[in-house]
């Protein structure tokens, strides 16, 4: 079953590792982008007509295209972000003053990309297709002249979300997930370990302890979306924390994984033979010293296993994050705990919801990454458990 699932997704997703690029030889004069004192001026750079530059360079390949409508169709085979990308490339290169000729690789549009990968069937009538015969001919001629080809899709790993599939990447959501998980682990792990030690060694049997235990067990089975509702009404509307922030996402996921880690930690503490604790107590250690200095270090592998499983669960969780607004379209890579961010599973959800065919393969590839990461986390947990499983 696992294999079917992964293979069907894998077949959808492997092609997103590649992306259709085309090569342009472009000459730029950097003197246009300096202010009066000779220092680079970003404003002038932003105002320059980069799209025009790319388009005129493209038209040189097809001198026969004259008509306005035809031009429009021709420009539709390259990415709508091509001009912007070119600007970024040139900014990064930090060229010296004077005029330069350079050849750059820019994205073809998602439709041309899908056609080159054979994902757009050309059997259906032209009107129903996203790419018409003329555009196919142009793309083919670019390929024949070795100007356009499929290359490794670097953009996918180095950029955040975008409206154009060809410039969309997962880096933004990966960092968003990392920030969220950091908050989750900082919040949940200490609390869970302290609660587990309390429940195992210090709680006096009674109503309060029973009530805590019932609550922990029930919270473990509460639907995750309810934690999202809790986050929405408590963290966002009562405490006024920012929407879409990894901080809030982390706290909500932390509350959600808390019972999982508490239960695992308790099991791990309970599996340490009482004789160790009794020996410590017998040598004059206090209850606290016996728990913290003797039992806890021995229970650590088990606690870590539980934590890894809890974190894997939190990493894959989507629904509560939808509730607290981490579903927004965010182009910037998040940098702080309060900046707007999205997470990997949410990104997958958003991509699989969008209309462009090219987003499907991207969400498949993102799924493969997420699943590979989760499986390795779970395997690590299994291996840890096997390694430290002791028969006392």
């Amino acid at each position: 079953m696992l294999a079917t699932l992964l293979i069907s997704i894998g077949l959808n997703g492997y092609s997103a590792l590649q992306q259709a690029y085309f090569k342009l030889d472009i000459s730029v004069n950097t003197e246009k982008f300096v202010d009066d004192s000779g220092a680079p001026d970003n404003n002038k750079m932003n105002l320059f007509n980069w799209d025009g530059l790319v388009q005129s360079a493209l038209r040189e390949f097809f001198p026969e295209v004259k008509d306005r409508d035809e031009k429009k169709e021709l420009f539709a085979i390259i990415s709508a972000n091509a001009g912007y990308d070119l600007k970024e490339i040139i900014k990064k290169k930090a060229l010296g003053s004077g005029s330069h000729t350079l050849s750059v690789w820019l994205h073809l549009s998602d439709d041309a990309d899908q056609y080159l990968k054979g994902r757009l069937s050309i059997d259906i009538p032209e009107e129903d297709r996203r790419i018409n015969n003329k555009q196919i001919a142009w793309v083919n001629s670019l390929v024949e002249r070795d100007i356009a080809k499929l290359k490794f899709n670097k953009t996918f790993f180095t950029s955040a979300d975008s409206r154009e599939p060809e410039s969309a990447g997962i880096l933004g959501s990966v960092i968003g997930s990392a920030l969220t998980l950091f908050v989750t682990i900082m919040f949940a792990l200490p609390l869970a370990v302290m609660a587990a030690i309390y429940l195992e060694y210090f709680a006096k049997p009674g109503k309060i302890t029973d009530f805590i235990e019932v609550n922990v067990n029930n919270l473990a089975a509460v639907p995750s979306i309810v934690f999202g509702l809790l986050g929405l009404s408590v963290f966002l509307s009562t405490f006024g924390l920012p929407r879409s922030a990894p901080l809030v996402g982390g706290l909500v996921l932390g509350l959600m994984t808390l019972p999982t880690i508490i239960i695992a930690s308790r099991a791990s503490i309970r599996s340490i033979p009482p004789s160790i604790r009794e020996a410590a107590l017998g040598l004059g250690a206090s209850k606290m010293q016996a728990a913290l200095h003797h039992v806890l270090p021995l229970a650590t592998p088990g606690i870590l296993t539980g934590t890894i499983i809890g974190m894997a669960q939190a990493l894959g969780e989507t629904a509560p994050l939808l509730m607290i607004g981490m579903v927004a379209f965010i182009i910037d890579i998040p940098t702080t705990f309060t900046s707007s961010a999205t997470a990997m599973p949410v990104q997958i959800y958003m991509w699989s919801d969008s209309a462009e065919r090219a987003f499907y393969e991207r969400s498949s590839l993102a799924i493969l990454f997420l699943v590979a990461f989760l499986i390795s986390m779970n395997l690590l947990a299994v291996v840890l458990r096997r390694k430290f499983e002791k028969k006392w």
Partner: protein, 460 residues
Amino acid sequence: MTLPLSFVFFVLLGLSVYFYYHAKSGIVRKAALLSDRTKALPSHYGQQSFLWAFIPSFLILLVLTIGGPNYIDQIFYNKIQELNPTFNESFVSLILAKVINVSNGKISTGEENIIMLAKDYKIAFEQLHFYRGLVVILCAALLGMIISYRQKPGSNAREQVEKFIVNIFFASAVIAIFTTVAIILSLFFEALRFFNLYNFFDFIFGLHWAPNVAIRTDQVAAEGSFGMIPVLLGTLLISFIAMCVAIPIGLFSAIYLAEFATPKIRDFVKPTLEILAGIPTVVYGYFAALTAAPFFREIGFSLGLDVSSESAIAAGAVMGIMIIPFISSLSDDVIRAVPQSLRDGSMGLGATKAETIYIVILPAAIPGLVGAVLLAVSRAIGETMIVVMAAGLSANLTVNPLESVTTVTVQIVSLLTGDTEFDDIKTLSAFGLGLALFFFTLLLNIFALSISRRLAERYD
């Protein structure tokens, strides 16, 4: 002068660590002067100073960081209202939002008044940050000094420190209760606001769900109706389909794993099931929407049936696949908890292995198995991503698995992921659904846990 949060925190931490060492060496010196021995280890006095200096100041920092901005917002809200008492509430909030954004430099404006207010706002924030830092650092320094001065070699620092730590441990355990209470209260109060706007019985027993209401007051739109029966029915239908898939496969695999599998197979299958259980639901949702739904549609077409592209059966079947590992690992534990003596007794009386399983072991395990199935049902009802991606949005009152139905969780997500006002009837109705969902799953969970516990007690 600004004192950012991280700076204040690290100064606080540094001060507390300083007081740790200060108290640790100080107590030894004091003891030497009195030519006495300290009652606890020197490090306990250090810990005591650390806790004294750190915990109260940290709490102050937390309160000021969370409450401070809200307080400032409130002050400016009142200020704007005083400037022009004719403004209504939402307009004042709008101006406040503008002021905040201008002061952050997110937007720019030409309006003089707002620029002035934004400047004041920024100054107020800087003052808040400054005083926050000052108060926290002074508090830590003062408390640290007091405790170091008061510590005597004769006082038992260990007992005090440990008592304090146990209290912290207790507080972390109580967070579980707080979370439950917070869930119930927040859902309950929001739902109460919803029932002020909409009749409670119409919600519980209404047969029509169409949450389309006018967004602006001057808009013409159909009156929204919020009867939850069709939504509930859709949820139950999808969960039922999921259970039809998951219960047989899950149970059989559990019986196989517990009774027949060799240790080698077990060692391989168990971790695989765990990994399968660890696959995020959004992946199953993707699979349901893009692979399973077209697949069922094709099959339906070839049989001459009209299958909706968001059919309940696709969502339900994939959800069933998701739940298989859950049921099988829970049931496996339950079956293995049946004492070996029952098996030995049955085999000793001449029963075959199959007879032993369904005459002796399964009846003994039934309460636990029912518990596992109930937990799985509660899981299916609360499952969100699969149905959000693969089930429909329109609430049809039908039990036909080929049609499109909607579920409670789908409705909550679709109602809350727009840019709606927080006190809108649509938003509030999501909390009504959330409350229903919470109670439904809570009942199932409590029931399931009590059944499983009874089984555990019987064979202990």
